[in-house]
C-alpha cells in the first residue's frame, strides 16, 4: 500500500472515531467540539471572508519578517564565517540567543513598537535570523577545500572566489537554513499574533477562545497545521532533495 493511501485511511479513521465519540456523548461540545461543528465553523469563517483576511494578514507579516530574517541572517552568517573575531564574539552569542524562544521578546517589542504589526514582525525576525546565520556559517566553513583550490588555479580569488564558488557551494546549507528559519518564524508569528491584535490567524484563535467558540479554535489549529506541513513538505523538502541530489550529497 502506498504511504499516501495509508495516511488518508488513518485520518479518515481518526475523524470517524472523533465524530462517533461526540455523537455518543463521551464528551461535551464545549470540551471537544465534533468534526461537523469544526467544519461548520471553518465554512462560516471562509464564507464571510474573516478567515481569508486573517490568512492574508498573517502571511503579510510572515513575508516581511521572514525576508528580513533571511537577509540579516545571511549577512551575519557570512560575517562570522569570514571573521574569526566576529565568530568568537557574535558567533558564541548567537547560540545563546538561538536557545531563547523568540516570543519572550514580545513584551519588550510591545514597549518599543506598541501593540501592533511591528512588534509581531520583530519577533518573527528574531525567530528566523539566528538559525539562518548559524547555517550560513556552517555552510561556508564546510565548503570543500578542493573547490577552492581548483578555483584558485583558474585565477579566481577574493570576492570573485566568494561569489562564484564559496557561496554557491554552500547552497545546501542556505536551503536548510531557510527551511528552519521558516519553521521558527511561523511558530513565532502564531505566538505573537495570539498575544497581539488582529487581524491574523493567531488573533482569531485567541478571540474565538475568549468567546468560547471551541469549534473555531480547533479549526484555526487545523489551518495552521496544514499550512505548516504544506510549506515544509511540498516546498522545502523538495528543494532540499533536488539540491542534495545535484550537489552529490
Amino acid at each position: 500500500m502506498k504511504p499516501a493511501i495509508k495516511r488518508i485511511i488513518f485520518i479518515v479513521i481518526l475523524v470517524g472515531l472523533w465524530e462517533l465519540g461526540s455523537r455518543l456523548g463521551l464528551w461535551t461540545e464545549l470540551i471537544l467540539p465534533s468534526p461537523t461543528s469544526v467544519f461548520t465553523a471553518l465554512y462560516h469563517g471562509f464564507a464571510d471572508k474573516t478567515l481569508i483576511w486573517d490568512l492574508i494578514a498573517s502571511f503579510r507579516r510572515l513575508a516581511i519578517g521572514l525576508t528580513l530574517a533571511l537577509i540579516i541572517g545571511t549577512s551575519i552568517g557570512i560575517l562570522i564565517a569570514k571573521s574569526k573575531t566576529a565568530d568568537d564574539t557574535i558567533g558564541s552569542m548567537l547560540l545563546a540567543l538561538q536557545s531563547v524562544p523568540s516570543i519572550v521578546w514580545l513584551p519588550l517589542a510591545i514597549m518599543w513598537f506598541g501593540l501592533n504589526d511591528k512588534a509581531v514582525i520583530f519577533v518573527v525576525i528574531l525567530g528566523g535570523t539566528f538559525v539562518m546565520a548559524l547555517n550560513i556559517r556552517t555552510g561556508i566553513k564546510n565548503v570543500s577545500p578542493l573547490y577552492i583550490r581548483a578555483a584558485q588555479t583558474m585565477g579566481s580569488k577574493g570576492i570573485d572566489l566568494f561569489i562564484r564558488v564559496i557561496f554557491p557551494a554552500s547552497i545546501p546549507y542556505v536551503v536548510t537554513g531557510s527551511r528552519l528559519a521558516w519553521a521558527f518564524a511561523w511558530r513565532a508569528l502564531m505566538a505573537g499574533e495570539l498575544l497581539s491584535t488582529g487581524p491574523g490567524l493567531g488573533y482569531t484563535l485567541s478571540y474565538a477562545s475568549d468567546f468560547g467558540n471551541m469549534s473555531l479554535v480547533i479549526g484555526v489549529i487545523i489551518i495552521i497545521g496544514i499550512i505548516g506541513s504544506i510549506v515544509d513538505q511540498l516546498i522545502f523538502q523538495r528543494i532540499e532533495k533536488s539540491v542534495a541530489n545535484r550537489w552529490g550529497l
Partner: protein, 262 residues
C-alpha cells in the same frame, strides 16, 4: 630552461609541533613540451611538489622558476587537474569549462573555446549535463577540458586517473596522449603507477620517501604509440621497480615498527 626547480625544501609542523621534512633539496629542470611523470610511493611528497608548482602551497625555501619568473601564487599559465574531478556541481558541463574564461573573453568566445576543448575530450554531447549525471571518467575528462580551456603553458596532473577503473584509465591514457601531441603542453604528471608513467611520459622522476628526494631521472626512449612495444615497457618497468622496491620496503617496515611500538 622552461621550468626550473632549485634547491626546493618543504617542512610541515606535525602534531607535536616538530618540523618534518616533506621535500628535501629538490632539483629539477623541465623542457618546454616535455611530458614528465613524478613517480613515487605514497608519502614521498610528490603531490606537495606539484601543489608548490601550482602555487597553492608555499615552499619552506628554494624556488621554482617558470620562464625565469618565480612562482609565488596560482596562475592561469598553470592548469591543474586533481585526483577528484573538482567540478562545480551547481553549473553544467559547459559552464564549468567556461569558468576560467569569464573575465577575459566575451560570452561567445568563451563558449566557442569551451566547446572546442570539450570536443577534444569527446564530450560534445554532454554540454548541458550536470556533473552528478556523468560517470567518474567523464567528469575527469571535463576537468581536463576545463584546465586546457584557459590555454595554460603547463598542465599539472595530480594522479588524475587514480580513482578510475582499469578500462576507463586505459582509454583516458590514449586520449591524454593524443591531446598532449595536439596541444604541445608541458605536462607534469604525478602518479604512483609505474606502468602509467612509462606509457605516457618522456621522463620519469622517481622519488623516494621520508624525506622526499629525487632518486633518479629516467629518460623513456620507447617510440610512441608504446602499446606496440610491450617488451621494452616491461623491461623498463623492472628497472624502475628496482629503485622503488627499497622505498616501498622502507615504508612497509616503518609502518610495522609503528604498529609494534603501540
Amino acid at each position: 630552461m622552461f621550468i626550473s626547480i632549485n634547491q626546493l625544501n618543504k617542512q610541515f609542523l606535525d602534531k607535536n609541533d616538530q618540523p618534518t621534512t616533506v621535500l628535501k633539496d629538490i632539483e629539477l629542470d623541465i623542457e618546454k613540451g616535455e611530458f614528465v611523470s613524478i613517480l613515487g610511493p605514497s608519502g614521498c611528497g610528490k603531490s606537495t611538489l606539484l601543489s608548490i608548482v601550482a602555487g597553492l602551497t608555499s615552499a619552506t625555501n628554494g624556488e621554482i622558476l617558470v620562464e625565469d619568473k618565480k612562482i609565488t601564487k596560482p596562475g592561469k599559465d598553470r592548469g591543474m587537474v586533481f585526483q577528484e574531478a573538482a567540478l562545480f556541481p551547481w553549473i553544467n558541463v559547459i559552464e564549468n569549462v567556461m569558468f576560467p574564461l569569464k573575465k577575459e573573453m566575451s560570452k561567445q568566445e568563451a563558449t566557442a573555446q569551451a566547446k572546442k576543448y570539450l570536443q577534444m575530450v569527446q564530450l560534445s554531447n554532454y554540454l548541458e549535463h550536470y556533473p552528478h549525471e556523468l560517470s567518474g571518467g567523464m567528469q575527469q575528462r571535463v576537468s581536463i577540458a576545463r584546465a586546457l580551456a584557459m590555454d595554460p603553458e603547463i598542465l599539472l596532473m595530480d594522479e588524475p586517473f587514480g580513482a578510475l577503473d582499469e578500462q576507463t584509465r586505459t582509454r583516458l591514457h590514449g586520449q591524454l596522449e593524443e591531446i598532449w601531441i595536439k596541444t604541445k603542453k608541458t605536462v607534469l604528471f604525478v602518479t604512483h603507477s609505474i606502468s602509467e608513467s612509462i606509457k605516457l611520459s618522456d621522463r620519469i622522476i622517481v622519488m623516494g620517501t621520508r624525506p622526499g628526494t629525487i632518486l633518479t631521472d629516467i629518460k623513456v626512449d620507447i617510440p610512441r604509440p608504446r602499446r606496440e612495444h610491450k617488451e621494452d615497457m616491461l623491461e623498463l618497468e623492472e628497472h624502475v621497480m628496482s629503485y622503488l622496491k627499497k622505498e616501498i620496503d622502507k615504508v612497509v617496515s616503518e609502518e610495522l615498527n609503528h604498529e609494534t611500538s603501540h
